[in-house]
């Protein structure tokens, strides 16, 4: 019996200690529940962060494109159409109209951190007897590499581009039997061709992309694709990644361009994240509920077992409020102690899982983020759950008629 503890705390601790087997079981139950919640929450948060990081470093957050080319209906007069049915015209590769002006406008927007004009098109990469269709991206390395971190994906050579250089994917290098320093003949559909030197081989984490993606400087792409001075897209990165879609809408409304945000182009990814979050919330709610019922069940039994003790305590002048607090405290303590062990178990499981579970390329499946906030929240919630679960048994104990309780 600790001297500094009030009567209710002393009684609650002693009652839990006396029924220690029961206490041990329920604390273990709470701990397992909390461990599951901590483990799932931390792992899913890590996975989401990882996904977002991967998505955001491999593509621009907003891409500006030329407006769709539309066929104008033939009109014979006001409200009179020659052709009721309009066929969508084929979309020619066009440059963004007045792109330097748009780029300057984008650079002046405070929400945008990087702007890079790009020229993309298809071409053929030829080396000796083998040739492969490629997607050619002409970029300004200084700004583009801030948006898509090509330098992070380089596995051989370096992310250096001059007008005579090209960076290709690992699969394409394999297909063409090419390596760093080799020459590659790049031929456009128009027949224009350039011989470029491979300066870097990159692994973008996707086989299809590794087979097709190539990067050259903007001027090289412009001359190969026959669009001198033109760009097909302007790529942007933004300060607030989750505000990208509304910013894209603002840009599209104010400029003669189409603006696609990463949120729109990765809609499926967002749906998957949302579904994962929803199922996680459901699982957490049910685990918390089963923990609450477990605590309540143990305390209901405890009230029955201790009815004589409660009667004696009442006979010696214990108030109803004191009895109520004794049992509420027990619920809170079970939640609190269980959640401390649970947090430790969850963190341990997370460290273990992080160590053994790897992605196909050997990198970590999710970043190990053990946020203090998560543990504090888990402990607070478990303690509150314990208190709430104890309410019904505690009220029952407080309302016991001492005469009946003593008689048993």
């Amino acid at each position: 019996m600790k001297r500094w503890l009030p009567f209710e705390w002393i009684a609650a601790v002693q009652f839990l200690y006396e029924g220690r087997l029961q206490t041990l079981f329920i604390v273990s139950g709470v701990a397992i529940g909390v461990a599951v919640i901590v483990f799932m929450s931390a792992m899913l948060a890590g996975l989401e962060t990882n996904f977002i990081k991967r998505v955001l470093t491999s593509q621009p957050q907003i891409q500006l494109l030329p407006l769709d080319q539309v066929a104008r209906p033939l009109r014979n007069g006001v409200g009179e159409f020659e052709d009721a049915k309009i066929q969508r015209p084929s979309q020619r590769v066009l440059s963004i109209d007045q792109w330097p002006k748009i780029r300057a406008r984008m650079q002046s927007m405070p929400d945008i951190t990087a702007v890079s004009p790009t020229m993309t098109g298809s071409a053929l990469a030829i080396r000796g007897d083998s040739s492969r269709a490629i997607s050619l991206a002409g970029v300004e390395p200084a700004t583009y590499f801030q948006i898509v971190r090509i330098q992070d994906y380089i596995v051989a050579g370096e992310a250096r581009l001059t007008s005579e250089d090209i960076i290709i994917g690992t699969e394409l290098a394999k297909d063409l039997g090419a390596t760093i320093g080799d020459k590659l003949n790049v031929q456009a559909a128009s027949g224009a061709n350039r011989v470029l030197t491979i300066t870097g081989i990159a692994d973008f984490g996707n086989k299809g992309v590794n087979q097709r993606s190539t990067y050259v400087v903007l001027r090289t792409a412009q001359s190969l694709l026959g669009m001198i001075g033109g760009v097909t897209t302007i790529d942007l990165t933004v300060r607030d990644i989750y505000g990208a879609e509304s910013l894209a809408q603002q840009i599209a409304a104010a400029n003669p361009v189409r603006a696609d945000s990463w949120i729109k182009t990765n809609a499926q990814f967002f749906t998957a994240v949302q579904a994962q979050k929803n199922s996680n919330t459901l699982i957490r709610a049910f685990v918390a509920l089963s923990v609450a019922f477990g605590i309540a069940a143990v305390l209901v039994v405890s009230v029955i077992q201790r009815s004589k003790d409660i009667g004696i305590l009442r006979a010696m002048g214990t108030r109803r409020g004191q009895i109520l607090r004794i049992f509420l405290l027990q619920g809170g303590m079970l939640g609190f102690v269980g959640s401390i062990f649970g947090s430790a178990m969850g963190a341990g499981a997370l460290v273990y899982w992080h160590a053994i579970e790897r992605q196909a390329d050997g990198t970590e499946l999710f970043p190990l983020v053990l946020e203090q906030q998560l543990f504090v929240l888990a402990i607070v919630l478990a303690t509150v759950t314990g208190l709430l679960a104890a309410t019904a048994p505690a009220l029952r104990a407080a309302n016991l008629d001492p005469v009946v309780a003593i008689r048993g």
């Binding site: 500094w4 002693q14 009667g311 001492p402």
Partner: protein, 227 residues
Amino acid sequence: MADDIIKLEKVCKAYNIGRPSETEVLHDIDLSVRQGEFVALIGPSGSGKSTLLNIIGLLDKPTSGRLTIKGQDTSSLKEAEITRLRGHTIGFVFQYHYLISAFTALENVMMPMLVDRGFRSADMENRARDLLIRVGLEQVSGNLATNMSGGQQQRVAIARALAMNPDLILADEPTGNLDTKSADSVFGLMREFNQESGTSYLIVTHNMDLARRCDRIISVVDGRIEL
């Protein structure tokens, strides 16, 4: 009388009021216990002794009649006041000793003081220890109730009942479960405390030998006091 610790006037107690199974267990009880009196309450099983004891101990309420404790009418008191009055004025000793099994002998004796004051103090511990010495159980003060004999538990229960220095001890067959020797010693202990401190005792017993050693015998038969 001015020095009446408790006074019952026309106290009745009925159960299941208004139902076909209504039973009146106490009828017009008039009873008083004076300060320092050592009274035996006898009667056959089911005569209403325990109900009477519960009413006097403020654990139960009479259906009608008046209960006065130290001159204070209890009928108008609120529950919190009743609980307080019970804690300060009355000590209980039950037939089955009923120590709280989660606590040691010393802690059980300290319990009424702890309930009243909220925090444990050195004074409390000293008083509890003194009481245990008085009942001859100093050596088992650290034992849990489960590690004590019936006689020892009952002595601890007496020490606990005395902890708050009450005016009245209510004992419901305190020796009912003990062998003759232990019963005699427990009874002797209560008598000794009574003579020393002037605390009144109302003891329910079936043991006529012990009852005869009391100052007064009150007999309850069929819910009425027989003179």
